[in-house]
Symmetry: C2
Subunit: 258 residues, 2 copies
């Protein structure tokens, strides 16, 4: 999206200066509208001119405008509403909707082995350590009840419940950080790691240790101990989770690295 033109890779006749690839009309329209939105020239909530109004301004057909608007919709930059008061509006951006996009992207990187389990664990560690410290600084903030609820012990023999509990608690910590960026990046990183890289079905012992680690971390957060919360959150990833995501010899060697 940044580069609107790329030099052609093809060889060119001598004497010709470098040429740029032709861009489809709808891409050119989408690029212009995106720039206006990102510069703030079109404000959040503002209604865009209708397709019929924009088409002659830009010298394209209404269907070209419609295609451009679909791209911006996919990027969550605009939303369309129906009815008499309907049309295309600059969308209120929503960090939670970003997560779906990140999920898709990270899944593909994992699926094609371009990013391995170790990198996912390092990224989890990078985001969840500081999130736990920030959650402690706020002593859980508005998420105290959610943290307590999701840290509550479940039957470790119930795989399904234990897995859900774990996902929910990690997610609650990211939210309790009060930082929407850490949350929007951290949740998809953990979710993709969980779904793509778990190597074995963890046994009772894993789930018991996992839940004890959560309880300890909860205590540090509620006590407002930032350093301990950071320490426990990162150690939980290095010592409890890494063995289930990394080949055993690597997990033994250095946990999640970094």
């Amino acid at each position: 999206m940044a580069a609107k033109t790329t030099p052609t890779g093809a060889s060119r006749p001598s004497g010709l200066p470098p040429l740029r690839r032709v861009q489809s009309s709808y891409i050119q329209v989408a690029d212009q509208l995106r720039d206006l939105i990102l510069r703030g020239d079109l404000a959040v909530g503002q209604k865009l001119p209708s397709e019929a109004e924009m088409a002659p301004l830009l010298g394209v057909s209404r269907s070209t405008i419609r295609e451009a608007l679909r791209i911006l919709t996919t990027e969550h930059l605009i939303e369309t509403r129906r009815g008499i008061q309907g049309g295309a509006f600059v969308a209120v951006p929503d960090s939670e909707r970003l997560e779906g996009m990140f999920n898709t992207s990270f899944s593909m990187l994992a699926l094609t082995n371009q990013v391995d389990a170790r990198s996912f664990l390092q990224a989890m560690r990078a985001l969840e350590g500081p999130a736990a410290a920030l959650a402690a600084a706020a002593r859980g903030g508005d998420q105290v009840e959610e943290l307590k609820r999701t840290a509550a012990m479940v039957d470790p023999a119930d795989q399904e419940a234990a897995m859900q509990q774990s996902a929910d608690f990690h997610s609650a910590i990211l939210r309790a950080s009060g930082n929407k960026l850490l949350e929007a990046m951290g949740r998809p990183v953990s979710a993709v790691a969980r779904s793509k890289f778990r190597r074995t079905v963890p046994g009772l012992e894993f789930w018991e240790r996992n839940q004890r680690a959560h309880q300890e971390l909860l205590k540090a957060i509620l006590a407002g101990d930032e350093n301990l919360a950071y320490e426990l959150a990162t150690r939980h990833i290095d010592e409890d989770l890494s063995p289930y995501y990394l080949p055993p010899e690597e997990a033994d060697r250095d946990g999640a690295g970094a």
Copy 2:
């Protein structure tokens, strides 16, 4: 992208069970194709059936297929090629192309004040601290030359050059981490913070201190000192950068937090 149906917000006649919003045909087609790609049922590089082949299978028009493919193109899941051997192919995912998408999203969150300067600095700190430690663990890895080149002093009176040097060095550290996730998330976070939140035009003193901090960090990375690299990278954000992004009283109080 995760949720394909959402409960309607509208009130409903009593006696009716909850209904789900109708999804446009092209969204349904895009959702199905995305699932096939993310599950690996359609492999990277594989050619999709033509619009003419898919349309009757899915009971839609060729233009509906085309619209669905445009959405997947925007998500970088497929790419279309022209000519006799052309068509739609499952794209090789590319962490660098993700950055454009992240940039757009983070810009919007910053623009609408949904995520403030402090959160951006916390996220930078979360990603760049571990990246510096990983870069040190690899003693710069394949990026040694890039790190040295981008850490080289430039004239601090040349704003433009000094700003570019700083962006390049931070970017080189993320790349030297060898972790494509940290890089794909970290670069847009820094870039958006830089473009949206710089409060003042920094003076000579800032650029001199900034460059000295880079040189120190470079030394720690080349020496393979992970702890020192982490410490210097995070301190650089807390002490050098925060004052230029946060209101003075907040910057004095606690740096970038966490």
